[in-house]
Subunit: 230 residues, 2 copies
């Protein structure tokens, strides 16, 4: 399994010198490198060419780096390291809570960056393959295409509904705590707002479950969280 698959890295930075420097260093270490100069470009690239890791600069023209992170997190759990000249705690917190796995302030040493890259890829190494479509009775959920259909009919979910369903469906059968859901969908400041979950899961069940009062797939574990039952 340890067959030296070369990892592919997406580098997003608007300064050509930094792009060049990173490209040279990473290629020398055996990484494959994709380059993007703007947020728009990076999102397109990430969608069409699968990469294993993204290095994203915060100070981008156009779409901000934070938005790029959010955009990526919307449909994948690709490891993301943010690079930035901004040293303020608020910037770091914002980027990390947007879904970044690490935050490195420029200027940084190449050895440290490489070590941090190894650390975050190590974590996500054990992920599943592309089990992107999941079938549960009359329910069909396509995680990649972001589509759901119940009893053959396509169902349209609101953004929040989709993120909640996705958080459950990514780990079928496993229990996801209220805290995890609130943190993933709304952010760490909303960990106590369990009423959000009640309202939105009620809406989800109304759309997906044949008998919303007796849900078969979106199960609630009182006092703990929710579970997606296949």
């Amino acid at each position: 399994m340890g067959a030296e698959l070369r990892l592919r890295v997406l580098v997003v930075d608007d300064e050509p010198q930094i792009r060049k420097a990173l490209e040279i260093n990473l290629r020398a270490r055996g990484y494959g490198v994709e380059l993007a100069a703007t947020g728009e470009e990076s999102l397109l690239l990430a969608a069409e060419r699968p990469v294993d890791l993204a290095l994203i600069d915060l100070g981008l023209p156009g779409i901000d780096g934070i938005e790029v992170v959010r955009g990526i997190r919307g449909w994948s759990d690709l490891p993301v390291i943010v690079l930035s000249v901004r040293e303020s705690e608020q910037d770091k917190v914002e980027a990390l809570d947007a879904g970044a796995d690490d935050y490195v302030t420029k200027p940084f040493g190449m050895a440290e960056l490489l070590a941090r890259m190894r650390a975050v890829t190590r974590r996500s190494a054990g992920r599943d393959g592309e089990a992107a479509v999941l079938v549960a009775g009359e329910l069909v959920i396509d995680l990649a295409a972001r589509t759901v259909s119940a009893a053959g009919q396509p169902v349209s979910l609101t953004p929040i509904e989709w993120r909640l369903l996705e958080a459950l469906a990514r780990h079928p059968g496993k229990l996801v705590t209220q805290r995890q859901l609130l943190q993933q969908v709304w952010g760490p400041a909303y960990e106590r707002e369990t009423n959000y979950l009640r309202v939105h899961f009620a809406n989800i069940r109304r759309k997906l479950e044949p008998v919303p009062a007796q849900p078969r797939h979106v199960i609630t574990e009182p006092g703990i969280g929710y579970r997606f039952q296949l």
Copy 2:
């Protein structure tokens, strides 16, 4: 108090002031905190009491912080954040390659640390751990999915019941004292309320044991505690 499902953090640092400061800040944020001053102590604690995250100082007397990280990585993939005054790249690389998930140099801002803690726990929460399934006769306990079934039938446990069963099942065969159980499930202020244990274990046995009056798996050690028999 409500059934707070809080994350438990192990703090390893030899300076009492830093331990205290971290403890106060983390508790205020709703984390459970275990403290250790030396590497030896921390390894013992980590093995005995399950925590969800470890904050480890590098400059420890006795066993070095790096060795603590390696020790933990030897048997678990617990998220680990290293705290250190050392700023050299070599120290960072060494710690990260030893298995640490992040490296924060002192002094650091509390907001940043909390954000980095959220980032690493978010990662490790999502991955499907190795099948942590425990089979004891007609009992099947899935610690990862948080499900229990007896004689093929799924059993639903209340939050407190689950936490008690989990505390026993994480160390099959080992004796867990009443004090440990009360402290883990209800908090340190409830160490005397052994009647809670009697009531809830009676309910657990009623749900799990074929003959609740003659329990085969949830064994009580009079005057000391309880034990999970495989």
